[in-house]
């Protein structure tokens, strides 16, 4: 019972109607959870108390989806009074089963603000919630719904995916989701949910954000049941009507799954720019180099730090790729954006978004239709310590140096910023960054190219091997984004790859040889010590000495040749990175080593021949 007392230190818990039950339950469950939770204990949990404490902030105490946080979210929190549930195992238009509701409470709704509750609420609390949610609508008073039988998933593979793509075309998924699945279809700008709010067609290349879950079985379930309350319809009816087969629908699920990466991308703190030695630096977004270069995933969030804030960013992440050739850096940034803003087809949609997200913040946007924008941000100067400029375009003391690309201006420009929205464009004579952009199938690709060292003290110089802080900001003009109302990231690091140092080739053989030598010495010492070595006679000794000389000569020769190879590698890398002096000196060293190594080998060979 000590748990009970210490949990209500201020006497407040006793006044709040929910707390005592919760505390008692927690205390009891703590003891009982290792055994079995008795059924009557579950019955004691007050679902309403749990709901009021943890759910009402978004869904509202009356369950109508209009809690205090609701207008910072799009899609809006579920309105339980309508009994419209997206994630179901039942036919479109039917109620969800208890298990369906529990699944969403447990796992949350990916891509929305709804989190999973398994770690915060006990199982008894979550079960009590399911019962309480159903009291918001009298539809649940009737018979419980029966779940559909989904059967087993068909096997995937290339054939299923190819068939799925045909189905994608024939049942016109592209009308909303677009040809490449990025939610840029012709109908996308006209979509509203059943409560009248604007809704985006899902970007099918990001399955970790699918409302109903991103695996094949879950996609198939959504295709069968639809996402009720949204424009995502059920496809059960056209299967029933014989337009496509059930297997076709599974193939479609396999195809949709194949549009996303196999695993949800992980976030790496360091973006590496590979050193190109054989290929020229890419000058277009379509260069084949980009098919090979590693892609780094950078998630973005709404800018909610300085006024006016923005709670509904369209760009949820950018993909970054970088290469350099020792002279220039090429940085390719790609991200999903259904429109090439300003696009009049999207003007109304963006207007609705701005109205829906209506902000009281000073200077908040009142309409949409500005340009799309991307900012790549660096510190203006690298600090000796770990200090960096403030991640939102720096401050007066510590400015940032930025590359800005806009969809309504060709190329990109460099600026110095001392705080969000204070970017001052550098004079034309000081502009060094070039940019080319392409918008296709709901995706922007912007390629920035800049000399590593521009020769200007104002611009950050990039050096191979050095970690340079880098951050990203993105705006979708057709989503009503401009100024401080956009999507932002915190700091990452850009590291330019450098030629493989000679130590990589030299150190391991040396370490190997030394370890071997040491081992031989130890063994010999032990064997001599235990009297296992007889004193050899003179001929045997001479023979052994000759053998030793031969081995030493060959060993030295091989090691020198190995070092010559390492020098050759360094020389080549030096030339290709534009350091002719380095290349030259390594070539000289390599040459001398090669001659010495060959000399040692040939000398040993001749010596062995003659002494025989």
């Amino acid at each position: 019972m000590s748990v009970l007392q210490s949990s209500s230190p201020n006497g407040l818990s006793k006044k709040l109607r929910f707390s005592p039950q919760r505390v008692v339950l927690r205390a009891l469950l703590l003891g009982a959870s290792l055994l079995v939770v008795p059924g009557d204990l579950i019955a004691q949990v007050d679902g309403q108390a749990v709901y009021d404490q943890w759910c009402a902030g978004c869904h509202g105490e009356d369950g109508a989806g209009a809690g205090p946080a609701a207008n910072t979210m799009l899609p809006r929190p579920r309105d339980f009074t309508l009994a419209l549930y997206q994630v179901r195992t039942t036919s479109s238009g039917e109620l969800p089963t208890d298990a369906d509701i529990l699944k969403v409470i447990n796992e949350g709704m990916p891509g929305t603000a709804m989190p999973g509750w398994e770690e915060v609420l006990t199982e008894a609390e979550r079960l009590a919630l399911v019962d309480y949610l159903k009291t918001f609508s009298r539809f649940f008073q009737g018979d419980p719904p029966t779940p559909l039988d989904f059967g087993r998933a068909t096997s995937g593979g290339e054939d299923a995916i190819a068939r799925g793509e045909e189905v994608y075309q024939s049942v016109e998924c592209w009308r909303c989701h677009g040809q490449e699945g990025r939610g840029d279809g012709e109908s996308a700008p006209t979509l509203n949910d059943d409560t009248g709010f604007p809704i985006f067609a899902a970007d099918l290349t990001e399955n970790w954000r699918f409302n109903g879950g991103g695996e094949v079985e879950e996609i198939y379930r959504v295709l069968r049941t639809g996402l009720d309350g949204t424009p995502m319809a059920t496809f059960s009816d056209i299967v029933d009507a014989g337009v496509i087969t059930n297997e076709d629908l599974w193939s479609l699920a396999h195809y949709v799954r194949s549009l996303s990466p196999e695993e949800e991308p992980s976030v790496e703190e360091v973006v590496t720019a590979q050193l190109l030695t054989d290929t020229p630096l890419p000058q277009t977004v379509e260069d084949v180099v980009w098919e090979e270069a590693e892609r780094f995933y950078v998630p973005l969030s709404g800018q909610i730090v300085v006024q006016p804030r923005w709670f509904n960013p369209r760009v949820d992440a950018v993909w970054v790729q970088a290469v350099h050739d020792g002279q220039e850096l090429a940085l390719l940034v790609s991200w999903g954006d259904p429109s090439e803003s300003p696009d009049t087809l999207w003007t109304d949609f963006g207007g609705q978004v701005v109205t829906t997200m209506g902000s009281d913040d000073e200077g908040a946007a009142t309409g949409s239709g500005t340009a799309d924008q991307l900012v790549v941000q660096f510190p203006q100067q690298l600090s000796e310590g770990q200090e960096r400029p403030y991640f939102l375009q720096g401050d007066t003391r510590n400015p940032t140096y930025t590359w800005t690309w806009q969809s309504d201006i060709a190329g990109a420009f460099e600026s110095i910023a001392r705080g969000m929205g204070t970017a001052a464009r550098q004079p034309d004579s000081e502009q060094h960054v070039r940019a080319t952009a392409q918008h296709a199938d709901g995706q922007w690709k912007v390629l920035f190219v800049r000399p590593l060292d521009t020769g200007s003290a104002e611009d950050l110089a990039l050096t191979a091997g050095q970690a340079v802080p880098m951050a990203f900001q993105a705006w979708d003009g057709d989503n009503g984004e401009s100024g401080s109302q956009g999507a932002v990231s915190t700091w990452y690091f850009l590291v330019l790859g450098q030629p493989t140092p000679v130590a990589v080739y030299v150190a391991p053989p040396v370490a190997l040889a030394l370890t071997l030598l040491f081992g031989l010495l130890v063994v010999r010492q032990a064997q001599v010590g235990s009297g296992m070595w007889r004193e050899p006679d003179a001929t045997a000794r001479a023979k052994r000495a000759a053998k030793r000389k031969q081995l030493a000569g060959m060993g030295v020769g091989v090691i020198w040749l190995g070092m010559a190879f390492g020098s050759y590698q360094n020389s080549r890398a030096g030339w290709e990175a534009g350091h002719a002096d380095l290349g030259f000196w390594w070539a000289i060293i390599g040459g001398l080593l090669a001659i010495a190594g060959l000399g040692a080998l040939i000398g040993t060979w001749i010596h062995t021949r003659t002494s025989k």
């Binding site: 230190p9 201020n10 006497g11 407040l12 006044k15 709040l16 505390v23 404490q53 943890w54 759910c55 902030g57 978004c58 205090p68 946080a69 910072t72 929305t112 603000a113 989190p115 770690e119 915060v120 976030v267 703190e269 360091v270 590496t272 998630p299 973005l300 969030s301 709404g302 909610i304 730090v305 300085v306 006024q307 709670f311 770990q386 200090e387 960096r388 400029p389 403030y390 991640f391 970690a467 932002v488 915190t490 700091w491 590291v495 790859g497 493989t500 140092p501 130590a503 990589v504 150190a507 391991p508 040396v510 370490a511 190997l512 370890t515 071997l516 081992g519 130890v522 064997q527 296992m532």
Partner: protein
Amino acid sequence: MGALKSVFRLLGAPFRPISSVMGRFLNTPFRQATAVLLFSYVLIEVGIPFIPPVFGMPSAPIPNTVVLEYLIIAIVGILLWVSDNEQRWSEFKQPIHDILVQPDRRVARGALFVIVPALVAAQTYFSAQPDISAPPSFRAIHPAPPSSITFQGEQMVLDGLENPLRSAGSLEEHYETGKQVYYQNCLACHGDGLQGRGHYAPAFNPAPLSFQDAGTIAMLTESFVFWRIAKGGPGLPNEGAPWNSAMPAWENFLTADEIWSVIIFLYEQTGHDPRTWEVEGEEH
């Protein structure tokens, strides 16, 4: 089975069914020492991460440096034990000496000559590769607070400061006000579970603070929490890495009462108690 037999023979042990292996195999100090070392490694690497969940705390893998440190302690202990008496010490050394000297251990000796230098070479190869990791970051999560701050233009002494709302008005009302403030402003990052897992959290490094964690508000005074909310990331001293914190300076958005009420909400919702100031004179 044949392969297993030869492995055992290589180690100098007769091959027997598992049941008798434990007793028979661990019959020399060297094998016992090896077994203890292996057992401690498994215990440290796999066993320790199971401990925090027993006390309801999240688990995490053990850093390699810590594993190394524990293993060194284990090795020192083992060496003390084997060298404790003369006979055990010489028995312990025997198999090592045998493998170096005995003609019937030639295969094992040869294997060691291949394996050890190869491992050393591989290790050298990987450590000679250029390092492309991020520079180390030294960030104090709870840096020392100032003794006073300027809040919205007015001087505010933090030392000894209590939450004024705890002695004024209805706590239930303050909780409700705080809840409104939290859901409208804090939720997107710190999340409705108060675990720092809001829908914007994945974009931020460092990640938003979890208030459920026993190492955050549970060990701070309310005045410290007020300072952090009011001044946010930009108000951190340099050791707190102010340039990377996405925490806004909430004095630009909220009144003092709104901040004090959201603090009440944080403690009530998580069930934590704030740390309190020692009252001067109480000890006398």
